[in-house]
C-alpha cells in the first residue's frame, strides 16, 4: 500500500508533528518529497509480511514469561512533589501550566 505526501501529513497531524516546522517553503518541499520517498520504500517493504501464512495463528504481543500476579493495593507517597515538578517548563504554584486549550 503506497503512502502519499497527503497521508504522511495526516499521520503527522495525529502524532502532533509538523514536518515542515522551521523550514523555508523550498526546504519543506524538498524534505517532504524525500520523506515521502523513504516512507514509500519502507511501507512497500513491510507490505511483504502479507505473504506470510498466518491462518489460525494467535498474535504474540509480548514475549514476557513467568510474570507476577497484580500487586497488592497498598498506598504510598513515593516522591516529593517538588521532585515531580522540577522539570516543568512552566508552572503555577504546584500546578503544571500550559497555553490555553482553544
Amino acid at each position: 500500500m503506497a503512502v502519499t505526501e497527503q497521508q504522511i501529513r495526516k499521520i503527522a497531524g495525529l502524532a502532533r508533528i509538523d514536518l515542515e516546522y522551521g523550514k523555508t517553503p523550498q526546504e519543506a518541499e524538498a524534505f517532504m518529497a524525500r520523506l515521502a520517498g523513504q516512507m514509500d520504500a519502507i511501507v512497500g517493504y513491510i507490505d511483504g509480511i502479507s505473504k506470510a501464512d498466518t491462518a489460525g495463528v494467535e498474535p504474540l504481543f509480548c514475549p514476557a514469561l513467568h510474570v507476577a500476579p497484580p500487586r497488592e493495593d497498598e498506598a504510598e507517597k513515593k516522591r516529593p512533589t517538588e521532585d515531580m515538578l522540577q522539570n516543568a517548563p512552566e508552572r503555577k504554584d504546584t500546578f503544571f501550566s500550559v497555553p490555553p486549550v482553544l
Binding site: M39, Y45, T54, L102
Partner: protein
C-alpha cells in the same frame, strides 16, 4: 599494563588484593575519558565530581560485605534514569532532564558498589544502528574515527573498547547491544526478555527493549548480569525469578557435548566476505572446543525485519507520546494555544529518525491499517518464536554473525533508512522472540582490519548456560589487540 586496559574481573581482583583502590581506578577511567573524548564523543555526561566522591566514600567504607562491584567504574547508556545526573536519551527533547528516580538497574549498580563515571551516547531514543542520530553529535569508532561505532549503544561500546570503564549497561531492542559490541570489538549480552527490569529505562519499544551488560570479556558481562538480573515488582513484564548465580557461566571452559546450530538464513546473502570468513573461523573454533555443529533453518526469518519495524515503531509511536512539553522536556516558546505548543515542541524536540519511526508506527496502527500491519505482524511474531523454539529444541545455541558488514563510514547511509533497517536482520529476530543472545569478537576483518562479531543465541531464561558457552568459545577466539583509532 595501564589500569584502564584491565578487565573488570582483573580490576576486582586487584582491589581485593589491595593492589589498587576505587579512587585510583576511577581517576584512571576519568583520565582515559578526558584523553579519548575529543575523538570519540562516547559520553553525553561525564560525572567527574560525583564519581570521585563516590569512589572516595567506597574506599573509606572498605568492602566488608563483599559487594560484587565495589569500587568498579562503569558507564550507563543515557536512557537509564539517574537521580543525580541528566537523562537525555540523546534527544533535544530531554536536554537537561532530571529524572526523579533511579532506574532499577542503576539502583542495583549502586547497591553493588559500582562507580558510575559517565552516561553514554546513543542514537536518539535508541532508534538507530550507528549512534549517528544523537542530538549530542555522533560517536566515533575507536578502531577508525571516520567510522560509526554501531548503535544504538554506540557510546557504551566505543567507550569500553577505549578503556573508559570496565563495564557498561546498554539496551537492546533490535540489536542495540550486540551490534555495537561487534563493531567496536567488545562483548555485549542481551538477556532473555523479562530477566532484567526495564523500570527506569526510557522506553523505545516495550515488548522488545531489554537492558543488558557490555564489557571487554564474557566473564565481565556475566558478572554485571548477576548484579542487574532478577525480579522487580515495578515492571509487570519482569520474570518472577531470583538473581542468577553466574559462577557456572564463569566455570564453563569447554563446549564438549554441546550442539551449535548454524542458522542458514543468517549466513545467506548480504554478508561481506571478511565477516563470513571471521564468523566461519568462529564456528571452527567452537568445534575445536568440542561443539557439534548442525545446520538449522528459521523459515519465517525472512519476515523478521518487516515484522520488527511494524511492531517496534507502533510501540514507539505511543511510548513517545508522553513527550509533549507539558510536564518536562522541551517546550517550544511563543505558541499561544495548546495544539500549537504540542506540535512545535515535538517538531523541534525530535530528530528525523525518531519522527520517521513515529510516523511509521502511527500509520500501522491507524484506522484501516491495523489488521494488515499490526495484527498481522503480531501473528508473524508468534511464528518466528515457534521457529526459534523448534531450532533450540535441536541444539543448545544458535551461532551467527552480528552485522553483515564491519563498521561503515559515518554518513554513508544517512539518506537510506531502509538499507540500515535491513542490516538489523541478523540481530532483531532474537528480540521478536524475546530470547537471550551474546555477541563477542570473532577477530578482525581480513580486508578492513576492523572488528567482526559473532553471536550465540539461546533458550529463554537459559542465560547462564548461554554465557557459559560464550565463555568457552571466547577462549578459542583470537584477541583483537588495541584499537587503532584513538590515543594509546
Amino acid at each position: 599494563m595501564p589500569l584502564h586496559t584491565r578487565t573488570l574481573l582483573e580490576a576486582k581482583a586487584m582491589l581485593a588484593q589491595g593492589e589498587t583502590t576505587p579512587t585510583a581506578l576511577t581517576a584512571a577511567c576519568l583520565a582515559r575519558i578526558a584523553a579519548t573524548e575529543p575523538v570519540l564523543n562516547a559520553c553525553i555526561t561525564v560525572l567527574e565530581e560525583t564519581a570521585m566522591q563516590r569512589a572516595a566514600q567506597l574506599e573509606a567504607q572498605g568492602n566488608p560485605n563483599n559487594l560484587p562491584l565495589w569500587g568498579i567504574p562503569v558507564t550507563v547508556k543515557d536512557l537509564l534514569c539517574t537521580k543525580d545526573a541528566p537523562t537525555t536519551c540523546a534527544s533535544a527533547m530531554l536536554a537537561g532532564f532530571m529524572a526523579p528516580y533511579d532506574a532499577f538497574v542503576v539502583e542495583r549498580l549502586r547497591e553493588a558498589g559500582a562507580v558510575i563515571v559517565a552516561k553514554t551516547n546513543l542514537d536518539e531514543f535508541a532508534m538507530g544502528s550507528g549512534t549517528e542520530s544523537s542530538a549530542h553529535g555522533p560517536t566515533c569508532n575507536p578502531w577508525d574515527a571516520q567510522r560509526v561505532p554501531g548503535g544504538s549503544s554506540g557510546g557504551s561500546a566505543a567507550g569500553l573498547a577505549a578503556g573508559q570503564a570496565f563495564g557498561s549497561l546498554g539496551s537492546d531492542t533490535g540489536g542495540s547491544i550486540r551490534q555495537p559490541a561487534a563493531l567496536c570489538g567488545c562483548v555485549g549480552f542481551k538477556p532473555t526478555y523479562g530477566y532484567v527490569s526495564r523500570y527506569g529505562a526510557v522506553a523505545y519499544a516495550s515488548s522488545f527493549d531489554q537492558i543488558g551488560p557490555m564489557a571487554r570479556t564474557v566473564a565481565d558481562c556475566a558478572t554485571l548480569f548477576g548484579v542487574i538480573a532478577g525480579y522487580d515488582g515495578r515492571d509487570a513484564t519482569s520474570a518472577q525469578l531470583p538473581a542468577p548465580d553466574v559462577a557456572p557461566a564463569l566455570a564453563t571452559k569447554s563446549l564438549q557435548g554441546k550442539t551449535f546450530g548454524v542458522v542458514k538464513e543468517l549466513w545467506e546473502g548480504g554478508l561481506s566476505d571478511e565477516v563470513a570468513a571471521a564468523c566461519q573461523s568462529a564456528v571452527e573454533a567452537a568445534k575445536a572446543q568440542g561443539a557439534k555443529v548442525v545446520e538449522i533453518s528459521l523459515p519465517h526469518l525472512q519476515y523478521a525485519v518487516a515484522t520488527y519495524y511494524v511492531l517496534a515503531s507502533a510501540e514507539a509511536s505511543t511510548n513517545l507520546a508522553r513527550f509533549d512539553g507539558v510536564r518536562y522536556g522541551l517546550r517550544a516558546q511563543g505558541e499561544h494555544d495548546l495544539v500549537g505548543m504540542y506540535t512545535a515542541s515535538r517538531s523541534q524536540g525530535f530528530g528525523e529518525e525518531v519522527k520517521r519511526r513515529i510516523l511509521l508506527g502511527t500509520h500501522v496502527l491507524s484506522s484501516g491499517y491495523y489488521d494488515a500491519y499490526f495484527q498481522k505482524a503480531a501473528k508473524v511474531r508468534r511464528l518466528l518464536l515457534q521457529d526459534f523454539q523448534a531450532a533450540l529444541g535441536q541444539c543448545d545455541a544458535l551461532i551467527a554473525p552480528v552485522s553483515p558488514v564491519t563498521a561503515w563510514k559515518k554518513g554513508e547511509h544517512v539518506n537510506d533508512p531502509l538499507t540500515l533497517y535491513k542490516m538489523d536482520m541478523l540481530t532483531l529476530g532474537l528480540n521478536l522472540a524475546g530470547l537471550p543472545g551474546v555477541s563477542l569478537p570473532a577477530g578482525l576483518g581480513a580486508a578492513s582490519g576492523l572488528p567482526v562479531g559473532v553471536q550465540l543465541m539461546g533458550r529463554a531464561f537459559d542465560d547462564i548456560a548461554l554465557l557459559g558457552m560464550a565463555n568457552a568459545l571466547e577462549m578459542a577466539l583470537p584477541r583483537l589487540g588495541v584499537p587503532t583509532g584513538i590515543p594509546a
